[in-house]
Each structure stands twice: as structure tokens, then as C-alpha cells.
Amino acid sequence: MSLRCSELTYAYARHGDAALAGISAEVKAGTLCAVVGRNGSGKSTMLRLLCGIERPASGQVTWQGLEIGAMREPQRAAICAYVPQRPSLSAAFTVRELVSLGQRAGARGLHSVDSALEAMGISHLAHRPWHRTSEGERVRSVVARALVQCSGRGLLVMDEPFAALDPGECARLMGVLRDVRARGVTVACAIHHLGIASLLADQVIWLDRGRLIGCGAAAGVLDPAALERTFGVPFAEHAGQVLPILPVERS
């Protein structure tokens, strides 16, 4: 019972360089895995391969022994919900109409449309046109859609959902993800904010230039010295979180 990827390789046709090279990792069912790394390290590509909306050049992703990329779209949608980094919409839907798209996957989701809106704190926006909401509110509505789509013992793949959220909303989303995990869902989530990753993740996959440079329990992988070598700024532990110490420029 796990999400497993073996020898994953992926290259974008126009660049030639491998976006991912030989990634093998396993995420236990019902756990939360943070995918971390610098900008352009291959996190988003990795997530798209994990949920099967892109096929790897070689290697494979399996969910409970079945290859995700080989499934037909409706079957895959019943297993795996996806939250992109930059959601987009061409129809003039309201927030509620967008969230209710999660119902079409067919499986009985963890949340109804109303409870998902409430869980993400956007009930008051339900009838507002999606285009007239802020970036953070858009991300929250797409997370709500994923909560409607996602069934217990399913898979939830999210690309930087915390990036556009204020601290209060980050805390709310952390609570939602803990609840989802407690209900048996396996979560794979790209997270730039390493403080959040260190508080939330059971496991961390650390990518750099398309290669796996760390995989395991958060406490072991997110080592301040190793992080400093990669990111070029010092890190320190505070209240259970690994936080960057950003330089203070004085005039």
C-alpha cells in the first residue's frame, strides 16, 4: 500500500536537459510527503508524474501496484486529485461552480461542496465569480475542489499550495492536510516554506537539478548544514521548524 516511483526520468522536448533523472522513492499510504528543492529543481515535474498527468520518459509510478500513467483518465481521477501551482479557468464560473467540478470524478469524496468551502474558509465567496477573487482565494478554492474529488485512501498531489497564502491561511491549510491524512489520504506536496515542511511532513523528498539528494523522515533530511549548502543562506531550528536566516542589509 504505497505510492512508488522507480527510475523516473523526464525531459522537456525543447530544453534537452533532463528535468528529472533516475528518481526512485516510496511514499507510504496515509502519510504526507513534502517535495522540496530550489526553484527549477524538478518539483512540479515530479508531482505531475506522480499524479499521472504527464508520462515519464522512462521509469514508472505505481499506486498500490498499478501504474498510474497507464490508467484511463476517469479511473485516475477517482484515485488522485491535483492542485496546480497556477490554476486557470476560461469560463465565468463562481467559486462554488469551480469547487463542484470535483464531483465529476465519481468517487465519493471526503467532503461535500459545502463542507469543502467551509473547511477552506471560503463559504462567503461561494457565489463570487472566480475571476474576481485574489490569488490566495483562487488557490483555496482549487484545494476545496480537490477535497471534493479526493476519496479516503486516495491520493492528493499539490504544487506549492502555501505559496500564495497568508500565515493564518497557511495554518488553516496545515490543519486541513493533517485531517485529510488522518482519514487515510496520501499527500504529496511541493513546499518552499521549509518551516511548514518540517512541521507537517512525515517524509521529505529533496530534489536538486532533477536529482534526488535526500529522501526520508523530515527530521533527518532537513539538516540545517545541508540546507545551507544548497540554498546559500544559513538555517536554524526554532520551535520545531527549520527556518532560513535571511541576511539583513544595513545602509
Binding site: E73, P74, P84, E97, R104, H131
Partner: protein
């Protein structure tokens, strides 16, 4: 929301009632043959048959254009898309003109066998129009994409230029026709509602419209899910390749039958889906029926207005009128939408 939801059927009924009223007007409005004065009476059977021919042609062609416009707007995620703007109408017009010219050259009327059989089913008019529409749409799709991403404004520009090229070739072919049929062909190319539609073409158009509308109605919830980005749509279980192929064929076929019936009529396919959205909201279930009804309504009303206007120049092609009204509406959407930022409203 509950109020809005219950009002969707009521608003659809209103649209249908308006269409009924417009159809009645198209039957009743006419001109006294001797004095030329405008009259509002139910016609005698002989004139009634002519008006019914025009009315049903306008209903079927308008409905086909409305559906084609909606499908193109969903397919291309572009509120500016319509069969006329993207060059489908011109492509279909070129196909139909080439077929008419070659049939004239080969003297189809006198020949028997398979050509006559094709003509009897309407296929000889409809199939070349479909081929023209689908080839044009294919070319515009390729020209309007950069690295697999649709660029709404590039696509409209590509459509405009392809339409101009198709129009030029059509005029060239018309020039090669005998002078007697040249004037007819020129008026047809401006878009006109025939009082004596070719029965086989009308039946073919009804069949294509029914099949396309049925498929669109069944697929409407998938259209909803396809309104998000490609990767999100795939994650929601949408089989994008199959869906887009269906939209491409249905949009091309309905545009083509409307052209075979009435010639390339401007902007009905653009205005109808926007009208339906204003009344019925953004969900595609109500929008499919709404666009079909709104398309029929727009073209029938335009034909009534054309009938009522007498500029002393004889019968004005209805396409002139729809372009005069639809063109400014297009510019309004172009100005107000977020296309400048590459996204759509």
C-alpha cells in the same frame, strides 16, 4: 443561488418564447406585392410556404451557428471565437462554391448515377462545405498556437487572414462562373436566408444540428470540467483528446451546414453564446440549449428586420445586417475581456 438555479429553466423558457414570437413575426411580416407597403397579416398559403421556407432555414442555420460558436469558444477557450471570425464560414463557403462550380462545369443536373444520388441527399452541397470548414479550422488551430498553447488573439488574426484568402479564392471561382449565376453566388456569399431552401440540404442540416446538439448536451458537464487548464482537466478525468476531436467535428459540421443553407453569415455564432451566457450563466448544460435557441432567435429576428426594411434596393442579404450589429458587439467583447493579458473572461 437557489433563486438563480430555479431561474435558469424560466429564462430558457423566456428565450424559447422569444424565438416563438420571432418565428410568428417572420410568418406575418411582409410587403404587399402590388403597393410594396409593409403588412402584418398571416399570409395566404402560397406566400406562407415561401415565408415558412425562409423561417425554417433561418431557425436551423441560426441554431447551427449558435452551437458552432459555443463549441469553438469552449474548444479554444476564447470568447472571441466563432465560425465567421475563425474563417470556418469562409472555408465552408469556398468548399460549397467550388462544388457548385465543378458541378456546373460537369453539368450535374443532367447526369444520373451517383452524382445525382449525392445531390438528392444534400451531400453534394454539404460535404464540400464540411471539408472546407474542417480544413480551415485545422489550419487556424495550427497557426494560432505557440508551443502547444493557444493564443486567443493570434488565433483570431490567423482566422481573419485565412478567411480573407478563402474569400478571395471564392470570388475568383465566382468570376469563372457564367454571368447568370455569378450575381446569385455573390449574394449567397454575403449570407442570405433562402425562401426556397434545397430540401435535401435543409434535412441534412437538421440531422447534423440534432446530432451535434445531442452530443453537446450529453457532454456538457465535461465541457464544464474542460474549462480549467489542460493539466487540471486531465486530473478531473477529462479525456481531452477525444473531447476536442468531438468539438472540432461538431463545430465544423454545424458551421458547414449553416453555410450550405444560408451562406457565410457573420457574427450570429459569436453573439448567440454570449447572449445565452448573459441570461443563463456559465454552466454548459443550460448553455448548449441556450446557444441553439439564441442563434435561431438572432437570425430569425435579423431576417424579420431585413424583411421590414425597404431601402429601395431590393432584397438585402441578411449577412449585411448581422455584421452591422455583431461587429460592434465583437469589438465590445474584445475591449472588455482580459485578452490583453492572454487570459479569457
Amino acid at each position: 443561488m437557489a433563486g438563480e438555479r430555479t431561474s435558469v429553466p424560466a429564462r430558457t423558457a423566456l428565450l424559447l418564447a422569444l424565438l416563438g414570437g420571432a418565428m410568428w413575426l417572420r410568418m406575418a411580416v411582409g410587403r404587399d406585392p402590388s403597393t410594396g407597403a409593409l403588412e402584418w397579416v398571416w399570409p395566404d398559403p402560397a406566400i406562407g410556404a415561401l415565408r415558412a421556407g425562409a423561417m425554417w432555414s433561418a431557425v436551423v442555420a441560426g441554431a447551427s451557428l449558435g452551437l458552432s460558436g459555443l463549441l469553438l469558444q469552449v474548444l479554444l477557450r476564447n470568447p472571441l471565437a466563432s465560425p465567421f471570425v475563425l474563417g470556418l464560414s469562409s472555408g465552408a463557403g469556398l468548399g460549397a462554391t467550388l462544388a457548385a462550380w465543378s458541378a456546373g462545369a460537369a453539368g450535374v443536373a443532367g447526369t444520373g448515377g451517383w452524382i445525382a444520388a449525392l445531390a438528392a441527399t444534400g451531400a453534394i452541397q454539404v460535404l464540400p462545405a464540411m471539408a472546407g470548414a474542417l480544413i480551415t479550422l485545422g489550419i487556424v488551430l495550427v497557426l494560432g498556437m505557440r508551443r502547444g498553447v493557444i493564443e486567443p488573439v493570434s488565433m483570431v488574426l490567423a482566422g481573419t487572414v485565412v478567411a480573407a484568402i478563402c474569400g478571395a479564392i471564392t470570388l475568383l471561382v465566382q468570376y469563372a462562373m457564367p454571368p447568370a449565376s455569378r450575381a446569385d453566388a455573390a449574394i449567397w456569399f454575403m449570407g442570405r436566408v433562402p425562401e426556397l431552401p434545397d430540401r435535401a440540404v435543409l434535412i441534412a442540416a437538421i440531422a447534423v444540428l440534432a446530432a451535434a446538439a445531442l452530443w453537446s448536451g450529453i457532454s456538457a458537464r465535461t465541457f464544464d470540467a474542460a474549462s480549467v487548464s489542460d493539466e487540471e482537466a486531465r486530473s478531473l478525468g477529462v479525456r481531452l483528446v477525444t473531447l476536442r476531436l468531438g468539438m472540432y467535428v461538431a463545430a465544423g459540421a454545424t458551421a458547414a451546414t449553416s453555410v450550405a443553407l444560408c451562406g457565410p453569415i457573420a457574427f450570429v455564432g459569436f453573439v448567440a453564446p454570449h447572449m445565452a451566457r448573459l441570461l443563463l450563466g456559465a454552466r454548459h448544460g443550460p448553455l448548449v440549449l441556450g446557444s441553439v435557441v439564441a442563434g435561431a432567435l438572432v437570425l430569425v429576428v435579423a431576417d424579420v428586420v431585413r424583411q421590414a426594411l425597404d431601402l429601395g434596393m431590393g432584397r438585402m442579404p441578411v449577412g449585411v445586417l448581422t455584421a452591422l450589429v455583431g461587429g460592434p458587439a465583437f469589438l465590445l467583447v474584445l475591449r472588455s475581456s482580459r485578452l490583453a493579458h492572454g487570459s479569457v473572461p
